[in-house]
Symmetry: C2
Subunit: 153 residues, 2 copies
DNA sequence: CAGTAACAGTTAATCTGTTGAACTATTTTA
DNA sequence: TAAAATAGTTCAACAGATTAACTGTTACTG
């Protein structure tokens, strides 16, 4: 591919990504209850999907230090949305699970987010959206591979 | 479209967006010089693209309060990458421009980012990437429209 | 088996980004 | 000309992140 064309595509990609991240994030935020941040909701989502996990796993998935996770979990535990349970086999490990209150709040918010994103998706032809998701998935794989390569497995 | 299918697509979209945002952001961060954050670089990029702008414009584009912009600009000015210039016509207005040092640092970093993203783009067929960007652009328009509608315009 | 490595998680200090309210200074407008 | 609107700043408070030092627990090794 022509290098000037690539430059143009990269520029477009960067600007679009920026705009979608910022404005999409803002719209998601509007779906949040009053004392919940986007990041906190994503943490709840991950724990819910996995039906429990550890801080180290979250730190890995969220690409941050474990101490950052400790801070977020502290806040969510204080609000009563998350429970810490020490593993009796390996007492270093702490399992994180949603409380009933946490799970309920999560589902409510997640429903609103789904309705929002559905309203976007429905504006596309099924064909177009399928192709988009396919490429998006491939992009994700490429980024993950680049990360593994740069930061060493 | 079938509603179960839509739900699946929305789920995929949310998970992919999360992963790409987090991991892509991490890779971008690796391209940064030592005392520069991603957000700070995006501010420099916007000012560079527009060849100068105001705090209010940045607040609008970045979707944050003006006081958040003041804080970021303070840091960038302290580091000598940005200049504030009062408008002589309307003395309420402050124009923001890059200093020579700021512009140079910006170009260096931006080049590394372009090389990184190019290495992603080059792994796709031109066709595929073009279709992707088209849909991505449409998605951005939809999000901007939703924002205008929700937050009143 | 004792002693050291490695691991999971926490704490504390410090920084960046963000909000919201109150404020200053300067136009605009009615 | 007085009131309203606008551009930007200040301040207090909080969320998220990093780094380094630390606790407690488990695994490894000579």
């Amino acid at each position: 591919m022509d290098s000037a064309l690539i430059k143009e595509i990269v520029d477009k990609y960067l600007n679009l990504t920026f705009s979608i991240e910022r404005n999409g994030g803002q719209l998601i935020k509007c779906q949040m209850g009053n004392d919940m941040t986007n990041d906190q909701h994503y943490i709840l989502r991950y724990i819910n999907q996995k039906e429990g996990c550890t801080s180290s796993e979250l730190a890995d998935v969220f690409n941050v230090n474990k101490s950052a996770i400790t801070a977020i979990i502290d806040r969510l535990e204080k609000k009563g949305f998350i429970q810490r349970t020490r593993d009796e086999q390996d007492r270093r490990v702490v399992y994180l699970t949603l409380t009933d209150v946490g799970r309920e709040l999560f589902y409510e918010t997640e429903l609103r987010i789904h309705q929002l994103v559905s309203s976007f998706i429905e504006q596309f032809e099924p064909d177009e959206i399928e192709r988009f998701i396919q490429t998006y998935e491939k992009l994700n794989q490429i980024i993950l591979a680049a990360k593994d390569e740069m930061l060493g497995e």
